[in-house]
């Protein structure tokens, strides 16, 4: 039973990640390779907030979201000046820099050794989130809030402006919209929600190290979004479910672990190729890539 609950928690983490990435890729047409960096920032700030500052659940979560959002705002100011491929490369640069910081700032992050023993967060200093069931409830609540937020946002004038920006930036500027500000807001929002995933991850796994937040992870998140589909809620949610469940299915099929790991990557790659060929909007998305 605990195994299934673990899978559900991981799915929750990835739903928040894919939804945040969908905001960039699916709604604003900003292909960012730096989402894992913000995910990592959220995780590390959470770990430090719980361990060093002794904060409880909500303040630690808010701190992770706010600091990540602030850093994203600074990085966003730089990156949104670039378009298309240049934007991708700039976010790739951020990803590499932040990963290097996590890996080399040993006095704070313990570098490659990672941070073990992250304490369970307390809710209002009374209730301690300890059991796997507690984490399922916590991650489900945060995922639910994220889904609700993105649903409201997609169907709001803000979401409409993002879709308009994706279609025709020049026309939107001529209608009086500050496209650079719109992109910055999107970038900050996406990073802040990635930090929520980081929070759940750090609190639940109780051990973090930089390899969980490297470029491979960023590509993995984008792959999940593209497989599920972009531009709505359904697509990224299905994408998250797909990428988390697939390796488990392969395990049940009876493939040895080392073969299953490689098969998993082949199937992801193959899925992307087939989807681009036959269903460029992904399994349940609305936008064609």
């Amino acid at each position: 039973m605990e195994y299934f609950i673990h899978i559900l928690i991981v799915i929750n983490i990835y739903i928040v990640l894919t939804l945040s990435s969908n905001l960039l890729v699916g709604l604003a047409n900003l292909l960012s390779l730096g989402q894992a960096a913000f995910y990592g920032m959220g995780a590390y700030i959470t770990a430090l907030a719980l361990m060093k500052l002794g904060l409880s659940l909500i303040p630690a979560l808010l701190l992770a979201v706010l600091i990540t959002g602030l850093i994203a705002w600074i990085l966003g100011k730089i990156s949104i000046r670039f378009e298309g491929d240049f934007f991708v490369l700039v976010t790739l640069g951020f990803q590499i820099i932040i990963y290097s910081i996590l890996y080399n700032w040993i006095s704070v992050t313990r570098g490659p050794y990672g941070i073990p023993g992250i304490p369970s967060p307390k809710l209002f200093s009374v209730f301690k989130v300890t059991t796997i069931y507690n984490y399922l409830i916590l991650s489900s609540i945060l995922t639910g809030i994220t889904i609700w937020f993105f649903h409201k946002m997609i169907h709001s004038p803000f979401g409409r402006a993002l879709r308009a920006m994706k279609d025709d930036k020049l026309a939107l500027i001529s209608l009086g919209r500050d496209v650079n500000r719109l992109k910055t807001k999107t970038f900050v929002l996406a990073a802040s929600f990635a930090a929520v995933s980081g929070f759940i991850y750090a609190a639940y796994i109780s051990y973090i190290d930089p390899t969980s937040f490297n470029l491979d992870e960023s590509i993995f998140i984008i792959s999940a979004v593209l497989i599920g589909g972009t531009g709505n809620i359904k697509g990224p949610v299905l994408g998250a479910v797909f990428v988390v469940i697939l390796p488990e299915i392969l395990r049940f099929v009876g493939l040895p672990d080392n073969v299953a790991a490689n098969m998993r990557m082949i199937i992801y790659g193959l899925s992307l190729i087939l989807l681009m060929m036959f269903r460029p909007q992904g399994i349940a998305g609305v936008n064609k890539i």
């Binding site: 946002m153 004038p157 803000f158 308009a164 279609d167 025709d168 026309a171 209608l175 009086g176």
Partner: protein
Amino acid sequence: MIMKKIILSIRHISKSFYSKTSGNNYILKNLDLDIGRNQITALIGGNGTGKTTLFNIISRFVEPDNPKNAKILYNDKNLLTYNAYQLASLGIGRLFQDAHIFPDLSILENMLVADADMYGEKPFENILFSKKVRFKEKERTEKAVSILNELFGKKSIFVEQTHLPAGNLSYGQQRLLGLARLMMGDYQLILLDEPTAGVNIKLNDKISEIILLLKEKGKTVFLIEHNMAFVRKIADETAFMDKQKILLKGKTSEVLDNENVQKNYLGII
């Protein structure tokens, strides 16, 4: 407040493009032009004479060579000190040479996104003040439907199928939607870059009807156009552009009947 007769005053605008072989090629050189308030002014001239470049400079998408000496005064404000996106809030709207509608948005959404009131476009407004956002959306929708109704009638595709993606409309219909969209903004000056380009004769009539309606509503229209019959029909004044400058400006009939214009541009004489 006494309104000045001139709404847009363009002074000393120069724009050149550099090429290794021929150096600085001037598209516009020290160009001056005044646009009268509440009238329709047409800008005519051969291809490549810099008409769209001038529109791009006015709209702040292109910087002139000499931003310190040049001036574009709009209601006493120098547009060269503003960003492109700020012009809409000053009251300047623009229709581009190509359709530039939002193809994945519905007809209605194309109208809503053009509203001068941007309430709800901040991400948290929709969460914290959802009731007010819903109210604004209702108001916007009513305004959009009323505009579409007024321009095209209840039986038109624009009113009957407001949820149709705008990308499914024909090119001519997209041009009409672009014009209708301009009525959602609170514009005093509207720049139209070849509104009839690629549009059939029947839709031409509709476009001229809309432009005349804009004038009737107190707007100033400044347009680039190659269709001389269209210009003669709707423009109060016309400016003829050639050799990087405005060579002639006056009443439309006078400009179009001018010997130089007929010989060098219209090829009549």
